[in-house]
Symmetry: none
Subunit: 554 residues, 2 copies
């Protein structure tokens, strides 16, 4: 175990990560993420490509006014264009205008790319690399050289690939980052190539040996493995993105890489006390970029330390290493005991504890709750993915579910306007115009309320009508919004008459909770789940307020 | 490159994959997936744990009546309980009752688990392994021995871990599968341990050397890398799941593993022509389990070969290897660029052939259809799992979609009766009584028809009203029934206002077909899909009748 060696983590979420299809960042988003990464203790943060993107120019300008606390913010740019004097190159000028200490300059290592993409000759490419690095150095910048397509290039034409690195070294690059740009390498190839490059560097007899870095993509699902492999072979700069965002299949996921390197291999990456902020950082970034977090992500996912089944649960409670590869606390995640029809009493107890509820094994309520749970799951309810509904059920059994409102039924009317003739489907030329109206009858504090609202569809109409009725009493409702909606038919042989199970997810921008509804009527099931989602959000908010009051008083 | 070595892929989607939080499979779902995996050419399919789960028992019983074509279906079970005679063990009896040729038996390799989980002594565990394997062999089963927690066990107490394997070998296990149950291993550890075990096996001088397998989990984002590493060290059975489903962070993802092994390392895994069905299989399974596919998944994701504009696109068009690690066609995926592409066209052609429709590449209809398809998929339609809708679309373009009826809108009214006070949910004592009424207006042969019907829910009411209107003209409708109904929200940030996609499956008792509907209004989307489902059934029946007539006349 190569213990206590220092590694430099280099985050490129704001540049390579933003290449992910469907992800777009405002300047404000970028600043928020950069500050969060700075807090986490990431030493290098690539901020963008100022020449290629006007937003990135603004981002660097704003950071000059309010600099980060510790991290080096890095500008990214390409080598000068072919046959163009370096001082006249606009992207290099833009990179300099970002006024960072460090610039990452990328150049071509693969002869195929020189002739196919740049459409120039191999010698000119070497000059482009040399000139660009030397120019940045002369302007006082420190240079990280990204050798694009390094591995493909080296495997196809090692002699030429090595010449490109030599050009960067001679011009004064301090780091050489070996990139698997197409993401297709396998770990044993990384081992061979990084080892060879590492040995070659020592033969150069330089006073200031440039250091090696690694930049990997996930097209073969190997990005994290390849980066770890390169670190073991001596690469000390490790590039990646939060949550593995990036073009195509993404970049190496720092949320997996960092704990693998630090907890398992003993490298120093982040300050030791910062690693516990990793889960929060991952979820924060996913909120900022507005992508649902991957619940099954290693280390930081909601399910990463989730346990099912009785024996399993009691074993993990006695000795966590029986079913956990690391302690969830180490990365700021937590163990979750999953409720399902395999649940035993120990699951229910563990769950109550995690909700902050007092429940002990001898309490008859515990057994009653377990019976109730199994009975509801037999009917088709599913609490595994609907913890909020389960918490409400538990609070009810314990007399800790305050009555916020009573439901007295609803009506829904939907109408699809007639339109011409022809087939019903796939006709964007004659879009269906449909109309949905919902009426709900509910009571708050004994007052009967009848409210109606329209919507794009019946579920939205119901949600709107409910909010209209409740907002006077609970104005905080407007902070919750629905983030996911899933429907599953249960007894499929019954066809359209079958029971439907609806899972609904709400968020208040910080956390998410899921509720469940069940009925042969899909609208009824949706209504149940939406009602409980709103109720749970209100309860949660109240207990937070209460906790704050207690904290102030004490 | 260890070329042309045969590997045996072992799929455990139906057992370990089903452990994923939020995933639940009906017997019908399991049968559908098993048949699809059989088609793909997977040689071993683990069907479930018959002792632990009543559903799994039914699954094996149904497969006895309608066996798979080629794949071996495998029952999973644990070693006998401590101090219990093997012939009295209920889970072993259940595994035998599944009547498979192969049984996978798992046992403990890690001394900690023997004492902490099983609460027995180390010698008894060795007897449990020996007795269980020997008993299964005596009953005529072939045995795959899963060494649970192998790597943790070996690293903690190698002497004992090796004794557990010896017990399995002496009793007649044909495969020894080394499991990284907690998913925390790194590739260099896999290399060391698998190499050592491999060397140890050769020192045993056995006539029938058991073969090695590998089973990995993704808690360190290393599942695929670890499995590939084990293959390089000589493991020949590779276990994993479609889309990497599995407990916590999942199992090794076969959709990445198989192409890595077959395309990059030259192993034989699937029949060569089957690899191109991988993307379709991945998406099919994600539809059956009702989980959104990961667009950024390696090889099979929608974005896996997506290219953005400019130089990049022209370079990739001149020479795909500039930005693609493999050819997307090889795994049945396609390059996605703005302009229309040949790969897409060939898919359309192939599809037409599979529907028995004449369509050739030079026909402008082909290009028109491709454009239309892309346009609809951009809107959110998905035809991967809705081939009946796609066939209707294709027939329409070719003028081969007879007009059976015209749709002139619908109305739906739903009402949930008031019922007392209290919480809306989980109240089996006071079941909700709800009422749904639908009115449809359609035309057949120019005749306008207005019909109303009730139902358990709005979708059933719509289905009933449609049938009522059509049955006089198409009495054969009564032979079709709805067998599945799935809903997914598309742009989840829009909450209840988001677009919903409904997939509906019909059956006539012999075959099944699936249609798709899309709308912000869930009832509208359901209606679209149901209407197309009925239309497709009628069309299909007519062409069968026609084919029979032709056969009689000739």
């Amino acid at each position: 175990m190569p213990s206590h060696t220092q590694l430099w983590i280099y985050d490129t979420t704001l540049r390579d990560g933003a290449q992910r299809e469907g992800l777009s960042l405002s300047v404000e988003d970028k600043l928020n993420i950069a500050r969060r990464l700075d807090d986490l203790g990431i030493p290098f943060i690539e901020g963008g490509w100022p020449g290629a993107n006007p937003k990135d120019g603004q981002f660097f300008a704003q950071l000059q006014q309010q600099p980060l606390r510790q991290a080096e913010i890095v500008a990214f740019c390409s080598t000068r264009r072919p046959r163009c004097p370096v001082a006249e190159d606009v992207t290099l000028a833009a990179a300099l205008a970002a006024r960072t200490n460090w610039v990452t300059l990328f150049g071509k290592s693969w002869d195929l790319h020189v002739t196919e993409s740049l459409k120039t000759d191999l010698n000119e490419n070497l000059s482009m690399i040399y000139d660009s690095v030397a120019y940045l150095r002369k302007q006082g910048r420190r240079v990280i050289y990204d050798a694009e397509h390094w591995f493909d290039g080296y495997l196809n034409n090692p002699t030429y690939a090595v010449q490109t690195l030599e050009a960067a070294i001679r011009a004064g690059a301090e780091w050489l980052v070996l990139c698997d740009t197409n993401g297709g390498m396998l770990p044993h190839q990384i081992t061979d190539v990084v080892r060879t490059v590492s040995q070659w560097l020592t033969t150069l007899n330089l006073d200031n040996l440039p250091r090696l870095g690694i930049h990997t993509h996930n097209d073969g699902e190997m990005a994290v493995a390849n980066a770890v492999t390169a670190a073991i072979e001596g690469a000390t700069m490790i590039q990646g993105t939060i949550n593995g965002y990036g073009e195509r299949c993404g970049n190496a996921n720092l949320c997996s890489l960092i704990p693998n390197l630090q907890l398992k291999l003993g490298y120093n990456c982040l300050p030791a006390h910062k690693l516990a902020s990793l889960t929060e950082t991952s979820r924060y970034v996913s909120e900022v970029v507005n992508l649902a977090p991957d619940d099954h992500a290693p280390y930081v996912g909601l399910s990463a330390f989730a346990h099912k089944g009785g024996i399993h649960v009691s074993a993990v409670e006695r000795n966590p290493s029986t079913y956990e590869h690391v302690e969830p606390d180490a990365v700021g995640n937590r163990r979750r005991i999953v409720i399902s029809d395999q649940a035993g009493l120990s699951n229910v107890m563990a769950k109550a504890r995690s909700f902050g509820l007092q429940l002990d094994r001898t309490n008859p309520t515990s057994r009653h709750l377990l019976q109730r749970l199994k009975c509801l799951e037999d009917e088709g309810y599913q609490f595994e993915a609907a913890e909020a509904s389960f918490e409400l059920l538990m609070r009810e059994a314990l007399g800790q579910r305050p009555n916020m409102f009573d439901i007295h039924g609803f009506q829904v009317h939907c109408e699809r306007m007639p339109y011409g003739t022809g087939t019903v489907n796939h006709s964007p030329e004659s879009p269906a115009s449909s109309y949905s109206l919902a009426t709900v009858k509910i009571a708050v504090d004994g007052k009967n309320l009848l409210h109606a609202a329209e919507g794009n569809g019946p579920v939205e109409a119901l949600d709107n009508a409910l909010r209209k009725a409740l907002e006077r009493f609970y104005p905080e409702l407007e902070r919750f919004y629905l983030t996911d909606y899933k429907v599953r038919i249960l007894d499929s042989a019954a066809g359209t008459a079958a029971k439907t199970r609806v899972l609904v997810e709400f968020s208040d921008g910080e956390s998410r909770w899921t509720t469940v509804g069940l009925s042969p009527n899909i609208l009824e099931a949706s209504y149940q789940a939406v009602v409980e989602g709103l109720e749970y959000g209100l309860l949660k908010l109240r207990s937070q307020v209460k906790a704050k009051l207690v904290a102030c008083q004490s």
